[in-house]
């Protein structure tokens, strides 16, 4: 059993790491990179809690063998958070009471980021579909959906203000 060297760009920084066969992306993020904002929920792709972006698309980090994504760009909740203040999605979650226990929150926000990057003006149904792979056991779905819709408005108006 040989370890292999894998290169990933994590939150904009290039990282090389020695990984054991079968290591998943969440193992690397949490255990060796100290990025604990990505949470372990079920370890079998059944809850969405560990969602991160891989090359801009949502992925369950607990089900991704690191070796299969050599060279990929990975973004986590830590990377989404700007150095100062909050990302508009985070701001919308905060203002909209879209966190309860907070354990699913990172995953929900990463899903929202991928959705809004692709579809800046989603319908309620688009949002429902986008987060249908993320379980919230406090069941704050209504507030989460509202927050994502609110985030879309915030991002659009920020872009509009910039253009003007």
């Amino acid at each position: 059993m040989k370890h292999s060297v894998v290169s990933l760009t994590i939150n904009g920084a290039e990282r090389q790491m020695l990984v054991a066969p079968g290591s998943t992306l969440i193992d690397v993020l949490r255990e060796s990179q100290g990025l604990t904002g990505t949470r372990r929920g079920c370890e079998q792709g059944a809850c969405g809690t560990c969602t991160v972006l891989v090359d801009g698309k949502t992925a369950m980090s607990c089900m991704l063998p690191v070796e299969t994504i050599e060279g990929a760009h990975v973004e986590t909740i830590e990377g989404l958070t700007p150095p100062q203040g909050l990302h508009p999605i985070q701001e919308a979650f905060l203002q909209g009471f879209a966190t309860q226990c907070g354990f699913c929150t990172s995953g929900m926000i990463m899903v929202a980021a991928a959705l809004l990057a692709k579809n800046p003006n989603p319908s309620r149904e688009d949002v429902v579909r986008a987060i249908s792979g993320n379980i919230c056991r406090c069941t704050g779905y209504e507030a989460i959906i509202d927050a994502i819709l609110d985030a879309a408005v915030r991002i659009r108006s920020a872009a509009h203000a910039e253009a003007a």
Partner: protein, 762 residues
């Protein structure tokens, strides 16, 4: 974009008094940035990883473990088994009151349930510990598993739940039934369910001599410290539990469990920090669940649709070695007026992990069944289900005749029914279809939950800069305690909530009681309130005794705390700021402390309950049996509301748990082996957002002068009661099929003829 992150003082806009306002959550910023640290996020220097090996049989003995193979695996440091497990100072078979459970900590080689810990492997990496546990290759002497009614052992029990009576009788039940014009009688079953908080149970334990620091999610800090202290033979003050964030608890993080104790023991044995995090599958056994029940309801009614007797019998499953049972029949005690009520329980011992309190223990499964039975009785009487409940409205507590401290259930019924549009509902089932031909049904249920109050303590420190620090060892498992508690403290201190810093979630602070039983806001809140009042009193003493103060001599008249100033009660114009008072007194701060508990006389004199009414609409595919809940309206009266946004979230959460109970959740046990065949989140279904319909929670104003000085009742659990029955009743109303077990499944609704000629058959 936002301004600077400020923590813990939230940004908000405030109008009027702080209590009652939807302030931003104090933990919000840490949660949305991923910086909130849950137990498993801690990683102290030199830390080892522990993984439990668990039994795959439900009953028998472990005859062999290949400890050599596990130890030979690179990175494995130690393997704990019954052969080498260091002693504990308290016998794990002996329960520690008041909420103690017997714990499985390798005391012998006996196996009592599937997923029981049978060894603990400690290694340098998680991967090595996991593989080490897999290499143990346990051998068993297997005994036949007792998994159901056929082979479980029935027993009489004096108590159910946590010390609740197992049998309560008011009036003469036989006479009541004999006097009835009709008796509605049916049997019902509720399944085993698992809490499945999103955050798996975890602990990081670090010893320093005979002191231990535990990072763990915990709903009951002080009680847990005392219990760990007993197990490890150290003073309670030597146990420090840090539980700043809980990724959900729902009752499962209030009780000590074997795996966590073993990890703490391993850390002491190896003199290195140890982390243990359960896998999702390992949560199906040692950390509690909602036990299965078999329930029988007999409702006698007279010619006017009034109850003459209400008999609720529950057979409640528990483990072979402990006693927690769902106090489900007690849900029938406080709600409907009946001259005779009998609520009674028997126990059934099965080879499972011990059940424990899970969101609305007893009330959830008892109310689910009671509300269905009430629906059946209403139909038998030819009455509208709401009219039937109103006909049996209890003006005082049934049986005891005590007045309710407050009860606004009538308003809940009225407002809920109005918002839902209940009037005009046809009595007969299968009368409504939507534009696409789906069957539509409307059902309702009454929600009720008791108001426990746990003793709690708090400290409030007014500081020279006019701000305050308030402290209590409470737990925020998502309900928003940090926010609501700070609001209560701010009000007592006459400050803006953003001038109040709250410290909580660590056991070194004053005991905040238990975050459970929907009693945390009232319990810890009252302590904080009293501490705030005490701090203000001390400040007032300084001011009124100081000739230089405009408040000098106002001691007898009294002062009021408002907006950071003390005002003379009889003269608004004479006031002084907290900072000025402290500065002149030459004090850096003034500290108020308080202990708070329920006045026993209040509970003696009053019945204390939150109430609500839930209305549900379901649509059912007439041919395929697929059910969707399309509308849920709940109206709840729970005393004074501190933060309506948080409260609404709690009601929604409870109502969605109701959907889950009615239509989804069930741990499926293999009857032959006792193994749980869906011990994960893929096949043990909990709702995803697509299952959640339009929700509406109406907050009925309610002033309760008795329940506690704050007038606050509980909101965390009541939402699940009422909702389960409302949905089941709506399914009946849509389909005409009465399902008497939960969850309601596709196949239950296939009894109708094929509907191929309907709107679906073109």
């Amino acid at each position: 974009m936002s301004s600077e992150i400020a923590f813990p003082s939230p940004q908000h806009r405030r109008h009027g008094s702080s209590a009652g306002q939807p302030l931003t959550r104090r933990d919000g910023v840490l949660k949305v940035t991923g910086r909130a640290t849950y137990a498993a996020d801690n990683h102290p220097e030199g830390m080892l990883y522990a993984v439990t090996a668990v039994s795959s049989i439900a009953r028998g003995r472990v005859t062999a473990l290949d400890v050599e193979a596990a130890k030979a695996h690179p990175g494995v440091v130690e393997v704990l088994t019954p052969a080498n497990r260091p002693p504990l100072s308290h016998d794990p078979d002996d329960k520690i009151p008041p909420f103690g459970f017997r714990v499985e900590v390798l005391q012998d080689d006996t196996v009592r349930y599937v997923n029981q810990p049978i060894a603990l492997v400690i290694a340098e990496t998680l991967e090595a510990a996991t593989e080490g546990a897999a290499l143990l290759n346990p051998q068993y002497e297997v005994e036949s598993a007792r998994t159901g009614l056929e082979n479980g052992e029935r027993f009489d029990t004096p108590a159910v739940g946590v010390g609740a009576p197992s049998r309560t009788a008011y009036g003469d039940i036989d006479a009541g039934l004999a006097a009835a014009v009709r008796v509605t009688e049916a049997d019902y079953v509720t399944p085993p369910q698992y809490h499945n908080a999103m955050e798996p149970h975890a602990v990081v334990a670090q010893w320093d001599g005979d002191r231990v620091t535990l990072d763990m999610p915990n709903q009951a800090l002080a009680l847990s410290c005392a219990a760990y202290a007993a197990y490890f033979g150290i003073p309670a003050g030597n146990v420090l539990i840090r539980s700043p964030f809980l990724g959900g608890g729902f009752g499962s993080k209030a009780i000590l469990n074997g795996p966590q104790i073993l990890a703490i023991l391993a850390a002491r044995m190896l003199d290195r920090p140890v982390k243990l995090a359960l896998t999702r599958a390992q949560m199906y056994g040692p950390v509690g669940h909602r036990g299965q029940t078999w329930q029988k309801l007999r409702l006698g009614t007279d010619g006017e649709g009034r109850l003459t007797a209400l008999h609720h019998h529950v057979l409640a499953a528990t483990s072979s070695f402990d006693e927690f049972m769902e106090p489900a029949a007690n849900a029938s005690l406080p709600l409907y007026a009946s001259p005779a009520i009998l609520a009674e329980h028997d126990g059934l011992r099965l080879d499972t992990g011990t059940p424990g309190p899970m969101r609305a223990p007893g009330e959830a499964s008892g109310s689910a069944v009671l509300e269905v039975a009430m629906d059946e009785a209403a139909i038998a009487c030819g009455m509208d289900p709401l009219e039937f409940r109103l006909a049996n409205y209890a003006e005082t507590e049934p049986g005891t005749g005590k007045p309710f401290s407050s009860k606004s259930l009538r308003e809940c019924y009225a407002e809920g029914a109005k918002r839902f549009g209940w009037s005009g509902r046809p009595l007969e089932p299968r009368r409504m279809r939507d534009e696409n031909g789906f069957l539509v049904g409307w059902g309702m249920g009454t929600a009720v939950f008791h108001c426990p109050h746990f003793p709690a303590e708090a400290r409030a420190t007014l500081r020279a800069d006019g701000t305050a620090l308030v402290e209590t060892a409470g737990a925020d498992m998502g309900q928003g305690a940090w926010t609501a508690l700070a609001q209560i403290a701010a009000e007592a201190l006459g400050l803006d909530p953003d001038q109040v810093e709250l410290h909580s979630g660590i056991s070194s602070l004053p005991d905040g009681g238990i975050a459970g039983g929907s009693g945390h806001t009232a319990s810890a809140g009252l302590a904080l309130h009293n501490a705030g009042v005490d701090a203000i009193a001390r400040l007032a003493e300084l001011a009124t005794a100081d000739p230089a103060s405009p408040l000098f001599g106002a001691g007898n008249i009294g002062v009021e705390a408002r907006s950071g100033r003390l005002h003379r009660r009889d003269d608004e114009g004479r006031s002084e700021s907290y900072s000025e008072i402290l500065a002149r007194a030459g004090q850096a701060e003034v500290v108020g402390t308080a202990k708070a508990a329920r006045d026993p006389a209040v509970a003696e004199a009053h019945a204390l309950f939150s109430h609500g009414a839930v209305f549900a609409e379901v649509k059912v595919d007439p041919d395929l049996g697929q059910v969707r809940v399309t509308r849920l309206v709940g109206a709840f009266a729970a005393g004074r509301i501190i933060n309506p946004r948080l409260v609404r979230s709690q009601y929604f959460g409870g109502m969605i748990w109701g959907i889950s109970f009615a239509l989804q959740e069930e741990a499926v046990t293999d009857r032959r082996t006792g193994r749980i065949m869906n011990a994960d989140l893929a096949e043990y279904h909990v709702p995803v957002n697509a299952d959640v319909p339009s929700l509406d929670a109406i907050l009925i104003p309610e002033d309760d002068p008795y329940v506690n000085p704050l007038g606050v009742k509980g909101v965390g659990e009541i939402g699940i009661t009422g909702t389960v029955g409302a949905i089941a009743n709506a399914v009946w109303h849509a389909t005409g099929v009465r399902v008497r077990h939960f969850p309601i499944r596709l196949e239950d609704l296939l009894v109708n003829q094929r509907d191929v000629t309907s709107a679906f058959g073109n």
